[in-house]
């Protein structure tokens, strides 16, 4: 079971309150698709994504980025049992979506990069960074948990 101290919970709540689920989620997903192009394979039904311009103007990317970021927000609401909370989503990613779980870390890294760029070095301190890196690692691990 993952333990979160009071300081970590406070950091996450305070940063998350300023996150724009749609804009930041879109940025995280588009960067994942652009920087790690093999991930486009999972979204062939989204249509044109061969260039960065295509990805940026693709409404399905925007909608899905929002969905993913909203799911991160839901995980935050269940911080004391992220593993249990994400168990169904983990099964889905394994049994239906067939996503290589290594990609969860790549998306998690991009969420951290997007937040770092948004908040800047003064607000995105080493302590805030460490807390968010822990969060995305816990979420990746939980999403991988039901793989078989």
């Amino acid at each position: 079971m993952v333990l979160w101290d009071a300081a970590e919970k406070k950091v996450i709540a305070s940063v998350w309150a300023k996150v724009d689920i749609e804009a930041d989620g879109f940025q995280a997903l588009l960067r994942t698709l652009h920087v790690y192009p093999w991930t486009k394979r999972y979204f062939s039904h989204f249509g044109a994504m061969s260039t960065l311009k295509d990805i940026e103007s693709n409404p399905k990317v925007r909608a899905h980025g929002r969905k993913v970021m909203a799911a991160v927000g839901d995980a935050i609401s269940h911080m004391d049992n992220i593993k249990g909370h994400l168990s169904q989503l983990s099964q889905l990613h394994s049994d239906k979506l067939h996503v290589d779980p290594a990609n969860f870390e790549l998306l998690g890294n991009n969420i951290v990069i997007v937040l770092a760029a948004k908040f800047g070095a003064d607000a995105f301190t080493p302590e805030v960074q460490a807390t968010f890196q822990k969060l995305v690692a816990v979420i990746s691990s939980a999403l991988t948990r039901e793989y078989h």
Binding site: I113, A116, A117, F119, G120, A121, F124, P126
Partner: protein, 147 residues
């Protein structure tokens, strides 16, 4: 051999011109030591690294951060043969420093985050992609002489 197209070379060169080797290097090493605490094992001779405050005040961290980021910067004029350029440094990290090469990827990731936090929206997806390619190639170059 790693290929860089003209746009990538231009993006990297122009972006690197705005990096502050001392400040960004210091912040990168600080964050590496804080977020991945096992890395402190390599720097016992730096003294107290037990808390983020201690890491922030540590002058060895500042100096070494500058040194590491400068070394990354030295790769930029050698984009066509980073592996050859880093051969000696790779041997040093393997044979003398005994650094687990997985840590090169971690430091690359941290440097990416620090630069994102400093440049904000100017750290565009195109810049990010070129920069992650640079740190990936550098990490591979540093691992290439391991045996």
């Amino acid at each position: 051999m790693v290929h860089w197209d003209a746009t990538e070379k231009q993006t990297i060169t122009s972006f690197w011109g705005k990096v502050d080797l001392a400040a960004d290097g210091e912040h990168s090493l600080q964050r590496l030591l804080y977020v991945y605490p096992w890395c402190r094992r390599y720097f016992h001779k730096f003294g107290d690294l037990s808390t983020i405050s201690a890491i922030r005040k540590n002058s060895h961290v500042r100096a070494h951060g500058h040194k590491v980021l400068s070394a990354l910067g030295d790769c930029v004029p050698h984009l066509g043969d980073i592996k050859g350029h880093l051969a000696q440094l790779s041997k040093l990290h393997c044979e003398t420093l005994h650094v687990d090469p997985a840590n090169f990827c971690l430091l690359g990731q941290i440097i990416t985050i620090v630069l994102a936090s400093r440049f904000g929206a100017a750290f565009t997806p195109e810049v990010q992609a070129c920069f992650e390619k640079l740190v990936g190639v550098t990490a591979a170059g540093l691992s290439s002489q391991y045996h």
